[in-house]
Assembly symmetry: C2
Homo-oligomer: 312 residues x 2
């Protein structure tokens, strides 16, 4: 996606923000991954493979796992699915992880969270070979990212997706003031480290920050990842800033038995009148996560085989 491809809807309504179309950009990323997979097959006889492990039958987890399997197949990668019963014990799961670590056809391993109570999630995630840790949650990958060794790390998918949207929108990020709202290990911290690696001046703000409004108003790039419904109003946003809304919060339904609408951490209606560009919720950051997961699997596959990633 180029800036030109970003929707001009906002402008046509007399508002200022471009909409950053994460859905379209994610489709571009998946298409690029598909061409990489094709080249790997044609030139090296290799097929990247992604193993997804699901324990139990949590409805939301099943939706995610099915979606990942579907997208994996669509880009021509091999999809390995392991569905274990809810009462699986920790050792059984660890044994499966070790088996997947050793399997040369498996280049990426994803254990769907949450895991049932009898299993120590941290122990399981730590057992995944860091070189196959396409979720980027292993402590070794956290360390590599923290040190800016992006050529060796596997980076968590959601913040990496945010970075891709930002670079597509803004080009070189050097010298921009970036504010990351939220300090989770899955989004906020890796996001701040990626922005630092791209030469932004980075501020991490959180629930203990005094005068959040003033901090946010200084941001050329504002990434909101706190999980609080519409907590960032338009008047916290610097005019022209690029706003990435990672929050996915469900409002109460209007009618009984229906699902309420999804909204972000940013108050979209007021923010789009101030921001230069903004991701909508849904259709912004959300679709990027699986796209980066697939891209990470290709990266892991190429590293495992000691070959350069196809440029397509």
């Amino acid at each position: 996606m180029t800036q030109a491809r970003a929707s001009e809807t906002a402008q046509s309504q007399g508002e200022s923000a471009q909409l950053i179309d994460g859905k379209a950009y994610a489709a571009d990323v998946r298409a690029r991954v598909g061409r990489q997979v094709e080249q790997l097959r044609d030139q090296h006889g290799i097929q990247p493979g992604l193993a997804v492990v699901l324990v139990g039958e949590d409805a939301a987890s099943q939706v995610y796992v099915n979606m990942k399997a579907k997208k994996t197949g669509e880009v021509g990668m091999q999809s390995f699915q392991h569905r274990l019963p809810i009462d699986t014990d920790e050792q059984t799961l660890l044994d499966l992880v070790h088996q997947l670590n050793a399997d040369p056809n498996v280049h990426g391993i994803l254990v769907q969270l949450p895991l049932p109570d009898q299993i120590d999630s941290e122990k399981v995630l730590a057992a995944i070979d860091p070189a196959k840790d396409v979720d980027g949650f292993h402590v070794v990958n956290a360390g590599l990212l923290s040190r800016g060794q992006l050529d060796r790390a596997l980076v968590p998918c959601t913040p990496m997706g945010c970075l891709m949207l930002l670079e597509d929108q803004l080009g070189d990020l050097t010298g921009l003031n970036a504010v990351v709202l939220g300090r989770s290990n899955i989004v906020g911290k890796p996001m701040s480290q990626l922005l630092l690696a791209r030469n932004c001046t980075v501020t991490i703000a959180h629930s203990k920050t005094k005068d959040l409004a003033a901090v946010c108003r200084n941001a050329d790039i504002l990434v909101a990842a706190v999980g609080r419904t519409r907590m960032v109003p338009g008047d916290w946003i610097k005019p022209g800033a690029t706003v990435i809304d990672v929050g996915i919060n469900r409002l109460p339904p209007e009618r009984e038995g229906e699902k309420g609408p999804l909204v972000g951490d940013v108050d979209f209606d007021s923010a789009k009148q101030v921001a230069g560009a903004i991701t909508p919720v849904p259709g912004g950051v959300g679709p990027m996560t699986i796209a980066v997961l697939l891209a990470n699997t290709v990266t892991a596959c190429c590293r495992a085989h000691g070959i350069a990633e196809p440029t397509v």
Copy 2:
């Protein structure tokens, strides 16, 4: 050290900044380590041991290694010194590291940098057992620190020393605006992660930051770790801020054959008229590094034995 113990020299000269006496505080830390070592001996029959490895005869490195050995002995810990010739090959050094990893009397391993050209430093540091990595340079310790898992990490000594001085000076750091100047893996990045773990709003600034002066003026806590002589003038400092100067830069000597004086990254003379408290160079952060190294060795020893750290 308490605030009362900070030197009042500045005030008595009609200036505002308290001097943060790192030398005195480091002596306190070493004394505490000494009491811990005593308790470990008396109550558990354990003596913490620190192994220091020096390759070659670099003059500065020899001074550091001798200093570390001396302080290790002074607190009652066992000191293991390994001095290898300058032409040592990588495998010989790796073999020594593995031997130290396996030695139950060695709780901390420090390989003095820089290493000669024929040896890949990163490979050697990666070979050290993370649980004995008292320098905190291993990627696993970087990852643990990045994730805020301070109860499991070994933290790099210099930034940990800065944090100790800050907490001694300010108490709870929650909600303070902290600006870290410099993004090295040894100081800047771990410093920012420690301050975040203490609930500061943290900004990391660096050579690509636009308007460094404005960024610094917003800091309640300013940590300068860039290695550029007196680059932070007093008028970049928020009145009353606490300033930690990690820089150690040597000025040209006034007379031939002499050594020039040491100065920090902060222009001390103008800064002390604005800051609330400031570390001098020398005598500020410098002495803390070895003190924390000793404290880290006690921590590693207690974890290796599965016992709580003595509170003394």
